[in-house]
Symmetry: C3
Subunit: 155 residues, 3 copies
């Protein structure tokens, strides 16, 4: 015997949009804020409290979670995943958001496709290579790549 | 001159649901089983014969293939991809499923976002770091990360 | 005060299909060409000028960008992301496509799930491991894996 699941459909709910924002559907955007002239690709999810600046492009298949803020003139590549729960106590924090950690991305930060961003701070003028896994905060402009991501060269 | 393609639309077909399961659409679920109180995010595909336990969360953009079983109280992060064909003979097995290999995930296993899971066994009480590539079976509880994934510390 | 975004819906536009192509929706295919007997999974985006050969399978969640050509009898795994802009001058090239670089994939190339492919050439008869990041051209048949991808063994 099987049961009926509870079905929820993606959509655009309680989003604060700046001027001239473009959004490709299907996407799941709720409770977030997206600045002027930014673009959101298809198959993207952006959760509540996330903030996206101006002139920033979020490419297809990206996932931006709660407690992430991204600055102006940024590029979030295809399939980039942000993380707010580091499983610090050996598993998901679940509903206990006091265990979640924020991420703050500066301006003119370009994140290559399929990169993964743990809860960190990244300063202005940084390039993250495609496929990189960023596990530590970045305070110096430059190009970072690898798993875990390391400085390749300064900018 | 161009031809018309054969179009197929995603959906929910022949799925055995436990009680109180939540599913976000669009998703592509067919021929699988999903246990009580589990949650499936949007943009997810779960193929036939896959089994998901109880109280397990499958996050957005995940892909769970044939021959994968996942236990109870697990977390499958955003963009996690499972693999059943290792291209062992230098390319895809194609229709020859005797060349595919199963994956068995225990209980209380948390898999970080963008991780990739080759056909392996993972025991109970394991954390897989975000962006990790798991190429070998894991028989000891702990935190594993990197490409290929290695033990970071025991739990 | 919030504004109305510009909404665009994914679809299939200006695509040249060979015979007997199968496409799973939702997907976003535009201005590309897809050869005979190829299959495109759900949640896939393929951009203009991309060319896919015959008998090639593009799995769910893959992204194939402008300036990518893929041969016959290839396998593009789930969540594989191609890249045409290496941020060579420290950030996205934006509209300046003279800074983009092409990717050319031969025949019988199998790319594992969650792999990332920078702008490179890959010769015939190559296997790319799941989760690999391919940063350099590959001119010799074999199995390549890791971040960055290196030769594991010849074929």
């Amino acid at each position: 015997m099987t049961n009926m699941p509870i079905i929820k459909d993606v959509g655009i709910t309680d989003v604060t949009f700046g001027q001239n924002v473009t959004v490709h559907r299907p996407c799941n955007l709720y409770g977030c804020a997206i600045g002027d002239n930014s673009k959101i690709g298809p198959f993207v999810e952006i959760q509540k409290t996330a903030v996206i600046g101006q002139n920033t492009r979020v490419q297809s298949h990206a996932f931006i979670c709660e407690m992430v803020s991204i600055g102006d003139d940024c590029f979030v590549g295809h399939g980039v995943m942000f993380v707010n729960d580091t499983f610090a106590s050996g598993g998901p924090a679940g509903g206990d958001k006091t265990k979640w950690k924020p991420t703050k991305i500066g301006n003119r930060v370009s994140i290559g496709s399929n990169a993964t961003i743990l809860p960190v701070e990244i300063c202005d003028n940084v390039v993250i290579g495609a496929g990189a896994v960023v596990t530590k905060s970045i305070h110096k402009p430059g190009i970072y790549a690898g798993n875990p991501a390391k400085l390749l060269r300064s900018l």
